[in-house]
């Protein structure tokens, strides 16, 4: 049985390590905060200028001057700080942010990612994504394995305009946990009840199966 969005977030959360500064993209990545492993400290950075983001404010406590990159009202935790955009991207570009989790429309077997534009149809812009993917050493993509028509989004090469080249390291979809290796996607874990065969079927790009492939455990 394929994972839902929360399941994807939960699997990604297992990749968090103590001491990580993490930048979460809009969408599924936002849900990762709900599954932080016990006994580790991580801090969340938002590129609009806050480190140490906390949960949403209690009703009535919203402050228009305190938002995240998704323009949602938020709170801050002890040890938080506010800063300007140039400093925020110094954190990102300077590799001080340890992990970037973001969504994608397409990922290629060489780690290219496309997530900001569908020519002639939708152009939201790249926001901070191009800076994030160009700089982060550690990028996990949270995405659906196929589109609504059942076509794979894990491709030989991206058909949409790129956000970054050869940058994605790991991918979590509703079907699987994969990494990018020298020869393409490597299937590391299947979602509960999903078979290796199903993942291979749903992947257009070159895919190999890790020797120790297993089912995700939560």
């Amino acid at each position: 049985m394929a994972l839902d969005k929360n399941g994807i977030a939960q699997r990604i959360a297992q990749e968090l390590k103590h001491g990580y500064y993490v930048n979460l993209g809009i969408g599924i990545p936002t849900l990762v905060v709900n599954y932080i492993p016990k006994n580790i400290d991580v801090e969340f950075q938002s590129e609009n200028g806050v480190l140490g983001m906390g949960p949403f404010p209690f009703e009535g406590d919203e402050d228009a001057d305190i938002i995240n990159a998704g323009k949602q009202t938020i709170t801050t935790l002890k040890g938080a700080s506010f800063f300007d955009s140039s400093t925020s991207f110094a954190m990102i570009r300077g590799k001080h942010v340890d992990l970037t989790i973001l969504g994608a429309m397409e990922v290629s077997e060489t780690g290219d990612i496309a997530n900001w534009k569908i020519p002639g149809k939708m152009v939201k812009g790249m926001g901070g994504a191009m800076d994030l993917v160009a700089s982060a050493e550690n990028i996990i993509v949270a995405m659906m394995h196929t589109n609504r028509a059942g076509m794979s989004k894990l491709l030989k090469s991206c058909s949409l305009p790129l956000t970054g080249v050869g940058c994605v390291k790991k991918i979590v979809t509703e079907l699987a946990f994969l990494e990018i290796g020298p020869t393409g996607f490597i299937l590391l874990e299947t979602a509960p009840g999903v078979t290796v065969e199903q993942v291979i079927q749903a992947t257009q790009g070159n895919i190999s199966v890790a020797n120790d492939v297993c089912e995700m455990s939560f």
């Binding site: 938002s46 590129e47 609009n48 200028g49 806050v50 949960p55 949403f56 404010p57 209690f58 009703e59 009535g60 406590d61 919203e62 402050d63 228009a64 001057d65 305190i66 938002i67 995240n68 990159a69 998704g70 323009k71 949602q72 009202t73 938020i74 506010f82 800063f83 300007d84 955009s85 140039s86 925020s88 991207f89 990102i92 570009r93 290219d112 900001w116 534009k117 002639g120 152009v123 939201k124 812009g125 790249m126 926001g127 901070g128 994504a129 191009m130 800076d131 160009a134 700089s135 305009p161 790129l162 956000t163 970054g164 080249v165 050869g166």
Partner: protein
């Protein structure tokens, strides 16, 4: 102390003309120069090039200028919140240049700090790098990006003093400090205007030297784009 105060928004925007390039602070609707935008609408200046991270929403922020078709070209990083923007862009009425957010911040700072250009990894191998010089440093490819050139910069700060020293609040800071001094004339609106000497010299976010005019705005709307809350139970 060099006094930078002007009495009102009209004085503050004196000299703004058609065809000018403007830098505007803010992220979404957070920390935008509400009063300057309202005055730009009133002035009916046309054919503007606006540089700002976002383009507002349909009926607030830069969306107000889009409604009046005052913007000829928009340079931004994310424009996903504005249907009128998308319509004008897809129809070709509006010229749009989308650039990475960190590059937008740094092209502002480069203009402020007198750097004509710098190398960033952001956008290499994408549309953004088309027509730009690329170059390898330490085995990694980078794109040469250049400082913005703008006529006016419109900044929103929380507190300011007569000398133009500024303090921002929360994430309303965003691009505002980086855009101070990045245009020929930097105009700041503040919620609270205090006398010189009232602010701790150690806690100034932007020294007054970067700005030319400062005025106190009133009745800030500060609209929230995504009101997200949790319940108290």
């Amino acid at each position: 102390m060099i006094n930078k105060t002007v009495p009102n928004v009209t004085q503050a925007l004196k000299g703004v003309k058609n065809n000018m390039t403007l830098l505007l602070g803010g992220f979404g609707l957070c920390g935008i120069p509400e009063k300057a935008i309202a005055e730009l609408v009133r002035l009916e200046v046309m054919n503007l090039t606006c540089i700002s991270n976002n383009a507002g929403i349909d009926d607030f922020g830069l969306g107000l200028l889009l409604q009046q078709k005052q913007i000829r070209k928009m340079i931004a990083s994310y424009v996903g919140e504005n249907a009128e923007f998308e319509r004008q862009m897809l129809s070709g009425e509006l010229e749009v240049e989308l650039i990475p957010q960190g590059t937008l911040a740094e092209r502002s700072r480069a203009a402020q700090a007198g750097f004509p250009g710098f190398y960033t990894p952001a956008g290499y191998g994408t549309e953004v790098a088309e027509g730009k010089e690329v170059r390898e440093f330490n085995g990694k490819m980078h794109v040469l990006e250049k400082a913005f050139e703008a006529d006016f910069g419109f900044i929103k700060a929380w507190k300011g003093d007569e000398a133009g020293n500024l303090i921002f609040k929360g994430t309303a800071r965003n691009f505002n400090p980086n855009m101070c001094g990045a245009a020929k004339i930097t105009v700041v609106e503040v919620e609270e205007l205090v006398s010189a000497g009232s602010l701790d010299p150690n806690q100034i976010h932007v020294p007054g030297i970067f700005i030319q005019r400062i005025f106190k705005g009133t009745g800030y709307e500060k609209r929230i784009e995504q009101r997200t809350v949790r319940s108290k139970t």
